[in-house]
Symmetry: C2
Subunit: 214 residues, 2 copies
DNA sequence: GTCTATAGACCGATAGAC
DNA sequence: GTCTATCGGTCTATAGAC
């Protein structure tokens, strides 16, 4: 990651060589992060071992530590990637849509990610992991940007009357974020009575419409 | 536990002695379970060590294994206790209330338990733990009874029009259960802007009323 | 004196780190 | 590929009850 930002200007060092090395690093790092992401989604942080990551990528465990100094940093890198994907998704949304629909689209994206087994699950407890995440600027920046975007839509949606004005915006934001680790998805999927699309539609409905009849 | 069910009739063995030993065992078992429950709520299963449990109870680790054959069984015992508390709470509810209010009362109870730091948090991943739980009759029985009770109220609430009839009852049940590990509580509490009672009221509202304006 | 339960050392495995 | 720490689980010497 830092190799790219610290790379010398193209005029000083032949761009092809630097770009090649950088590409190599980037490609392998991406493979690592993808493996970490998948394993985090499948087993969670605690049950994921660094050996499994190395095995899945097909490299030596020691090579992992050339890229990431600890298991916590591996998880953080996966979260950074998720944030980048989230930002990319948000950037691709049509900006003329209703704020409520933007929010629903975002939640739908998170639910889809979770059902696809690509949503990392980190334990809320575990102080070392939290410390690493809080100290990761890329992650925090991504989280802040996403939160700002969503927060803006929330306020707009409350202003236009589509979201309950009496709810604190931060509650709405947290409630949306919580869908990223909603166990209801897993339960419903395990029941086998509904397709993925139905599961998503149901959870979206309970999230925005609630359980009460209208 | 089996000592009591296998105890000889009072006429054969002095009841005081048996009762004393049994009481000792029961009291200590309860202390163990209480400690496990607290540690499970505070740190989660993976970060809880049996040494910590022994230290908190004030007994030797080996003594723990006189009562429970494994760490997983410790967690299961804590869950059994939670289920018993849930059943006791349900039994204490006025049976003339509206089904919707019964459900809300139950969710409120779960949220209160969580805020009090008494709701064990178990990792959904972790096959050995799941195996132990599935094999624990007391836990399964408790879960089934609670689910039957809630399921009955859900159907009644849908029949009387207070809960959305288009939602599968099992979705409603899972959505209620999910409040037991809702990260929104933790987030809101960390924000420090709301009292516990406000947090509970807000989460209850989003759960039943949703985020949309009515 | 015997028997049980305890305390605390101890072991083996596993996983993170280098 | 090794080193070390940690943790789940066991073993043994001992203290205290009867």
């Amino acid at each position: 990651m830092s190799t790219r930002t610290l790379a010398a200007p193209a005029a000083v060092i032949p761009p092809a060589k630097v770009s090649f090395k950088a590409q190599m690093l980037a490609v392998r790092e991406d493979a690592i992060i993808q493996a970490v992401n998948r394993l985090l989604a499948e087993k969670g942080f605690d049950l994921m071992t660094v050996d499994q990551v190395a095995a899945e990528v097909g490299i030596a465990k020691a090579s992992l530590y050339k890229h990431f100094p600890s298991k916590e940093d591996l998880a953080a890198a996966a979260m950074v990637r998720v944030m980048q994907r989230a930002q990319a998704f948000l950037a691709g949304l049509p900006d003329h849509a209703r704020p409520l629909d933007q929010l629903k689209a975002m939640v739908r994206w998170m639910l889809t990610l979770q059902l696809a087994g690509e949503m990392p699950s980190l334990p809320h407890h575990n102080s070392s992991l939290r410390t690493t995440l809080v100290g990761n600027k890329a992650y925090l920046d991504g989280l802040m940007q996403v939160s700002d975007q969503l927060g803006g839509w929330i306020e707009k949606a409350q202003a236009d009357g589509s979201i309950n004005k009496s709810l604190p915006p931060v509650l709405v934001l947290y409630t949306l974020y919580a869908r990223a680790c909603d166990p209801v998805l897993e339960f419903l999927k395990a029941g086998g009575q509904h397709s993925d699309e139905e599961v998503i539609a149901l959870v979206l409905q309970t999230c925005f419409e609630g359980l009460n009849a209208r």
